[in-house]
């Protein structure tokens, strides 16, 4: 793992020194053993701060949105799930491929910080659920790759120097059961379902963390920001939260890249992925399996149609 970090630092240092890029997005070692927060460096000598381990969970791609107007070229380190975010931004024309240098990394599988018992001493942590269910551990696109990871558009098993440890920890082991939670909710009665979601929407603070982290939520001006649009007022009432939750799900329908960041960053702990996964499951069933952010050319399920789509409204 250390050799990989050394390679990352060397590459960043060389890119910045040569001026090829004006900035690099990566991670750095945090104040606790289990923290590896995002890092943005612009000077070659800061490259030494770069770090990468099983706590570097953050998906850095939406940070690129701040640079959509700048002409500087930026480099960014991406894991498998992050890389799908890059493809999402390119497909949505929010990031110019020439203005970003994507560096693909092998993914060791990220662990669940919630399970930390002893803040001081390192101890083993379980693999995040989204990593157990991960089907795209390797980057789907990258200009450079480190740690002999390979770029592939197909779902598969982890490749690269961290692959063996990742497989041993169980990355992608539950790939088949990603719709398990959805099925559990679908099995509930109508009232039980409503009660469950009512409780979730009550907790929502409308802090929009989920929207800010999401690579698919890349509007210049969000309808929930400006009440001039009149869709919904900004008070965090349960009904308006429900409107926000369902509308956002429909906005990212067929575009969500299944990176699970919205659920992770939500301060109120709302299981947002259970909604997105429901739509993904329905898209698979209705229009054929489709994984967003894996194929640059393919049009999203809601942006094209087939004459013999399922018919339920006759």
């Amino acid at each position: 793992m250390n050799s990989l970090i050394k390679e990352m630092q060397a590459l960043a240092q060389e890119l910045l020194a040569s001026g090829e890029v004006k900035g690099v997005f990566g991670w750095t070692k945090g104040s606790r053993w289990y923290l590896t927060p995002p890092l943005f460096i612009q000077k070659a000598e800061d490259a030494i701060k770069l770090h990468y381990d099983e706590f570097a969970i953050n998906n850095l791609t939406s940070l690129l949105l701040d640079y959509r107007n700048s002409d500087d070229k930026i480099a960014i380190f991406v894991k498998g799930c992050d890389s799908r975010g890059i493809l999402r931004l390119i497909q949505d024309k929010q990031v110019n491929p020439e203005k970003v240098l994507v560096i693909g990394l092998p993914c060791p599988g990220m662990v669940d910080k919630e399970a930390v018992k002893d803040q001081r001493h390192v101890h083993d942590l379980p693999l995040l659920r989204k990593c157990q269910e991960c089907r795209y551990p390797n980057p789907v696109l990258a200009d450079r790759t480190l740690g002999d990871v390979q770029v592939t558009k197909e779902p598969g098993v982890p490749i690269g120097i961290t692959a063996e440890r990742a497989i041993q920890k169980g990355v992608g082991s539950k790939g088949k059961e990603r719709y398990q939670e959805v099925k559990e909710i679908e099995a509930l009665s109508a009232d039980e379902k409503y009660a469950f979601w009512q409780k979730q929407h009550e907790k929502c603070l409308r802090c929009y963390a989920c929207r800010n982290i999401c690579p698919a939520c890349n509007c210049r001006e969000c309808i929930f920001e400006s009440d001039k649009k009149g869709w919904v007022n900004k008070a965090a009432t349960t009904t308006d939260n429900a409107f926000f939750g369902i509308t956002r799900a429909m906005h990212v329908a067929g575009r969500c890249v299944d990176c699970g960041e919205c659920e992770r960053v939500c301060p109120a702990g709302i299981p947002i992925m259970k909604i997105n996964r429901k739509i993904m499951q329905d898209i698979d069933e209705l229009f054929g399996t489709y994984d967003a952010g894996t194929d640059l050319e393919e049009a999203g399920p809601l942006n094209h149609f087939k004459l013999d789509d399922p018919e339920e409204f006759l």
């Binding site: 009904t239 429909m250 209705l286 149609f305 004459l307 789509d309 399922p310 339920e312 409204f313 006759l314």
Partner: protein, 149 residues
């Protein structure tokens, strides 16, 4: 005018309020034809005229439930007959997902219907409206997703 208001609220003759989005070229024309043929159906469904069923944003449906509609109908031309040629193909895909999402959120499927009703299918318009009114009247007022006044 308060007489009209009070009468409505009395429990046993409660009447559902159903918001309908009707595409101007087919369903709205079908509704007009139902009128021309003097068909009779319950007065609970009120149509909002939209250029195409593809113009009906799922956010309008959520807004209707939020503001107290007891059921919502989205109706347009049969796929292939759309005046704008491809409008209702997108409607079909979008509302296949929205219909399942609403059910997943706990809304009774009978409270949300998307149907294809062409300009000449006046009897079908009457039947859809009558069936929805009766079913929703049996279900009672919709509390879900509704804003507290």
């Amino acid at each position: 005018m308060s007489t009209v208001e009070d009468k409505k609220q009395t429990a046993q003759d409660w009447e559902p309020n159903i918001v309908g989005f009707a595409c101007n070229w087919c369903t709205y024309a079908g509704a007009d034809l139902a009128g021309l043929s003097r068909m009779q159906y319950p007065p609970n469904v009120k149509l909002i005229r939209v250029p195409c069923s593809g113009r009906t944003n799922p956010q309008f449906v959520l807004r209707a439930f939020q503001k107290g509609a007891d059921a919502v109908l989205v109706a347009g031309c049969h796929p292939g007959d759309c005046h704008y040629s491809t409008g209702n193909y997108f409607t079909r895909r979008r509302y296949l997902l929205m219909q399942r999402l609403l059910e997943y959120m706990g809304i009774d499927p009978r409270r949300f219907q998307a149907r294809w009703i062409s300009g000449s299918e006046a009897p079908k318009f009457r039947d859809v409206v009558t069936q929805m009114s009766e079913e929703v009247k049996a279900l009672g007022p919709n509390k879900k997703l509704r804003e507290e006044l």
